[in-house]
Point group: C2
Chain length 185, copies 2
């Protein structure tokens, strides 16, 4: 049924727009509190830029690199995932734009996992490539959506025992359309 | 006295040579155990690349950006510092070589902080710019030695109460000489 088809539009990633889902890590203009001058004045420390929230149930912070191939677009969105026990930060190690697909979760108040996610819950953001993200625990998200060419990210998430992955299907026919990327090769 | 003067020579940073001081984080060829294929096969996860050791005395992991100006060379090395309560990782966000000056610590066995550090304890390494480092807690090190131009690093270290900084002076007259950098502008 054509009325059931949704084509998502990406909007710029900003701290305000993304606040319900996580934190934006702006590598060009990092915001920390406080900034400190250290190392005989040679270094500015932008301190404590995002919350590494990995201690639940005896968890520990784990640092990894994700080396990701581009997701062919258009792409039909069939399911999202979330991590109930820990935050997950993605810091880009190069500087091409990428997409971030998340969903507002009406079930959060009750703690019951969503059986499925409606198109209206979805929000698509585009990072300028110098913005990373730190997903709050329990934020529904699509796996990494890299554009154009292979990209590396430093990822800080949780290691340890416990069930830290849930998945939910997306209702209806939802698509991420092709995106014009001036910088992509 | 001229016989008291030491000029340090940098050697390449390798995991083996650096093992007593910390871990090398190779962004080009990350080594993790295990590597995993995730995200419908689009992503290789190089898992758990270094040990974030920040839990002592109720500490927590903190992520910051260090924006550092070059250290003018030649530079006389007058003191080193160490962090007894936590590891400290430096992941370069661009790709120019930088120096890492550390010291083997004869006092570690007794737990007594060194009153001073001898030139013979010092080891100078050069990162190819795609290698980060994670200093073990208690590793004596110089503050960041950036070459050529301003550089950014993502730093993962420890936040929380407790005395996490010790300093020791370096005996004699020790210098880091100017370094030829083909890639520096």
């Amino acid at each position: 049924m054509s009325s059931d088809k949704t084509e998502l539009a990406a909007r710029p990633l900003t701290a305000e727009a993304f606040a319900a889902f996580g934190e934006v890590i702006d590598l060009n203009a990092p915001r920390g509190a406080p900034e400190m001058q250290i190392n005989d004045g040679l270094t500015t420390r932008f301190h404590d830029l995002f919350t590494i929230d990995t201690a639940a149930d005896g968890g520990r912070p784990v640092a990894s690199i994700f080396r990701s191939q581009p997701l062919p677009l258009p792409h039909r969105v069939r399911e999202l995932e979330r991590h109930p026990l820990g935050s997950q930060a993605f810091i880009p190690l190069d500087d091409l734009p990428f997409l971030v697909l998340v969903a507002a979760d009406a079930s959060t108040a009750t703690g019951a996992p969503a059986a499925s996610i409606a198109a209206a819950q979805l929000e698509l953001f585009i990072s300028d490539g110098r913005q990373g993200i730190n997903l709050h625990k329990n934020t529904w998200h699509h796996f990494q959506i890299v554009l154009g060419k292979q990209r590396d990210f430093l990822v800080i998430d949780r290691g340890g025992a416990g069930a830290n992955l849930e998945e939910a299907r997306v209702d209806g026919e939802v698509w991420i359309p092709a995106v014009e990327l001036p910088g992509a090769k």
